[in-house]
């Protein structure tokens, strides 16, 4: 593989945005994702090759490390920053200016519930593994999910709840979604949930953490 691409993938993996960025300490003063992408383009490496062989590779590596407990959320986010810096240069080469997405997922914390940290993490991890996530925020009514599905037909839906008293809203929400858009897959998560509860309310899957959710989703699109 091209040396520049290898270096670039490392910059993404380790979150080295540009030459000025202080992290990681051992790469201080060296060129980052920004500079290396420019160089790669100058070297006439095809944009799709840069994207796939360097940027995606780097993201994938940090994602795997995260899955193995060898990286944290901030590592993912910083890698994403480096990736974004690189993408700025690649945008003109892609029609839509965006990398190809695996699909769309509409996410939200259900009605009455304001806990969103878990949901946000799921969002991040899914984004990191190539999904287009539409985040409806917290305290989201069934109607809002329906509206979002109207706007983004064929999306998957992910519901989050952290309270024993709001998790039951997942039931109506799932019901309404399935009634209005039959065939829509609805996934659920959040600390008080269980597989049993998921089965009871007729949702299509429960996941305890974003990693297993992402793995499952990758499975169904392949």
């Amino acid at each position: 593989m091209h040396d520049i691409l290898e270096q670039l993938s490392i910059c993404v993996e380790r979150g080295k945005v540009d030459i000025k960025s202080p992290f990681p300490a051992d790469m201080k003063g060296r060129e980052g994702a920004d500079e290396l992408t420019r160089k790669a383009i100058e070297n006439k490496i095809p944009a799709s090759k840069i994207l796939n062989d360097a940027l995606m590779t780097g993201m994938q590596r940090i994602g795997e490390k995260f899955g193995q407990g060898k990286a944290f959320i901030p590592d993912l986010l910083i890698a994403a920053k480096a990736m974004n810096a690189a993408m700025e240069h690649l945008k003109p080469f892609f029609e839509s200016g965006e990398a190809k997405h695996k699909g769309k997922i509409i996410m939200g914390t259900v009605s009455g519930d304001l806990h969103d940290i878990g949901k946000n993490i799921v969002k991040m991890v899914l984004k990191g593994s190539g999904w287009d996530v539409i985040d409806l925020g917290v305290d989201v009514s069934s109607q809002k999910f329906i509206d979002a599905l109207a706007e983004h037909p064929g999306s998957y839906v992910g519901l989050s709840a952290l309270l024993t008293t709001t998790m039951l809203h997942m039931q109506d929400t799932t019901q309404v979604i399935k009634d209005t858009y039959p065939g829509t897959k609805v996934f659920v998560g959040g600390a008080p949930l269980s597989q049993e509860f998921c089965d009871k309310i007729g949702a299509d899957g429960y996941f305890r953490d974003p990693q297993s959710f992402a793995k499952y989703l990758s499975g169904i699109v392949q």
């Binding site: 992290f23 990681p24 969103d116 917290v138 024993t164 709001t166 998790m167 039951l168 509860f197």
Partner: protein, 460 residues
């Protein structure tokens, strides 16, 4: 406003369970922090929607919980306990709902005291509804008024102690935490959260004064416990969670500067700091709150507890009985152990066992080790103002962690070590001056908060 310039407890030996410099009398014959550790039993609804239709059933749930706990207390010949009623959002949104439940619990507790002489007190924690909007409006608007009115009605309905898990500054902190952005973390805790807690507790204090009841305390749950949870799930470094723990102390201390007198709130693991600085009795949760969350601090959390809590458990059936009475029994046995040690004058040895059993396992435990607590507390009282205190707490915490790692007391994994270096570097770059930090906040997170919510001028 009270200022704490020195430590109420300056010798680590005295930072111990059951004893606080300023015990709190409340409820039915309760005295907290005067030599005896009592259970603080918390509970919540099982999976059930709260609505007009289910309201009778909801009340029945709380009645059942109160009955079951009372029966257990009698069976165990308990000397006393505190009940925490932690409201759920609809109960604060409709404060008369929260009040109705408060009354049910209070009546049961009064009866228990009258018939069986078992001392007790009722803490009511209302939901901080202000968290609902982004950016949140903290000093005005519907959510704020409902929240304050819930305090008022709870007091009227028989609450002995009022508490809240307040959320000012969290709109920034949530984000900063994800990026491990120390500048954002310290500024949101030290400037924003500090200001909000100060204001909020002045409001609460006027209510508790009116009803002659107790202003308990606040908790950095949404900040430091979130970080702890995330570290527990492998999402954030433990050292970051430890740092946030220490950095959240000044923000919670602000409640005591503005009239709170304890018992502090169970999920506030900053309790030992509050006790060291103010002499206030504290409520702590540890291994016996496993029903509510996993923890790297199960034993060490007990070291300085005056109330010992299970944090929360749903009213579901286990083999022996319903979960609230089950966990009540567990707490009671834990407390028997604490109090027997005190009676036999071996409380320091027992405390040492609690400390030593966790300290090597996870660096977050270091933040609750008595000497470390005192070191960081000292650094805090030497500063004035929330921001300076927060920065000092973080720096001292970092220093303590460094020492612990260097001395081999704690072993850091490879990624923890690499994050250690990263955070060290970042900490050096955090602005020393509050104004500078504030400007930085405006620049980097300006769109996420409303300056008026903190009585700050809008810089733009």
């Amino acid at each position: 406003m009270k200022k704490f310039n020195s430590l109420a407890i300056s010798n680590a030996d005295d930072l111990i369970f059951g004893n606080a410099q300023n015990p709190v009398k409340c409820g039915n014959g309760m005295v907290i922090g005067d030599g005896v550790v009592f259970p603080e039993i918390n509970f919540t609804l099982p999976s059930i929607k709260i609505s007009g239709e289910t309201w009778k059933e909801v009340l029945q749930q709380y009645r059942e919980i109160a009955d079951n706990i009372s029966r257990r207390a009698r069976a165990l010949k308990a000397p006393g306990f505190v009940v925490e009623f932690e409201q759920l959002p609809p109960m604060t949104q409709n404060p008369q709902m929260g009040a109705e439940i408060t009354e049910i619990l209070k009546n049961a507790l009064n009866q228990l005291y009258q018939n069986d002489g078992i001392k007790n007190a009722l803490r009511v924690t209302v939901v901080d509804l202000r968290d609902a909007d982004r950016p949140p409006q903290l000093r005005d608007g519907n959510a704020c008024h409902q929240t304050l009115s819930a305090f008022e009605l709870s007091a009227q309905a028989g609450a002995d102690i009022l508490s809240i898990e307040s959320v000012g500054g969290k709109e920034i902190h949530d984000q900063a935490l994800m990026y491990a952005d120390l500048k954002g973390i310290i500024a949101s805790l030290g400037i924003l959260a500090y200001r909000d807690v100060s204001w909020l507790w002045q409001q609460i204090k006027t209510i508790t004064n009116r009803y002659n009841i107790i202003a308990g305390g606040d908790t950095a749950c949404g900040f430091a416990n979130t970080a702890m949870q995330l570290a527990g799930q492998g999402m954030l470094p433990d050292i970051l969670a430890a740092l946030v723990r220490a950095a959240s102390v000044p923000r919670s201390l602000a409640a005591y500067e503005n009239g709170a007198i304890g018992p502090s709130k169970d999920c506030a693991y900053e309790g030992p700091y509050i006790k060291a600085i103010t002499g206030t009795p504290i409520s702590m949760e540890g291994k016996s709150s496993c029903c509510a969350h996993f923890s790297p601090l199960g034993n060490i959390a007990a070291a300085a507890a005056d109330l010992w809590s299970n944090e929360s458990v749903q009213n579901v059936r286990l083999l022996s009985g319903n979960a609230p009475e089950v966990f009540y029994e567990l707490l009671e046995y834990d407390c028997r152990l604490f109090n027997t040690a005190t009676k036999h004058n071996t409380q320091r040895q027992l405390r040492e066992l609690f400390v030593q059993s966790d300290i090597r396992q996870n660096i977050q435990a270091l933040m609750l080790e008595p000497e470390t607590v005192l070191k960081i507390s000292r650094a805090i009282v030497e500063q004035t103002g929330g921001y300076n205190q927060t920065l000092a707490a973080a720096k001292t915490a970092f220093h303590c962690m460094q020492q612990a790692a260097d001395s081999g007391l704690v072993h850091l994994s490879e990624i923890e070590s690499s994050w250690f270096l990263k955070l060290k570097q970042e900490l050096d770059e955090v602005p020393v001056l509050e104004d500078e930090a504030l400007n930085w906040l405006y620049e980097n997170y300006g769109s996420l908060f409303i300056p008026e919510s903190y009585n700050l001028k809008n810089l733009v």
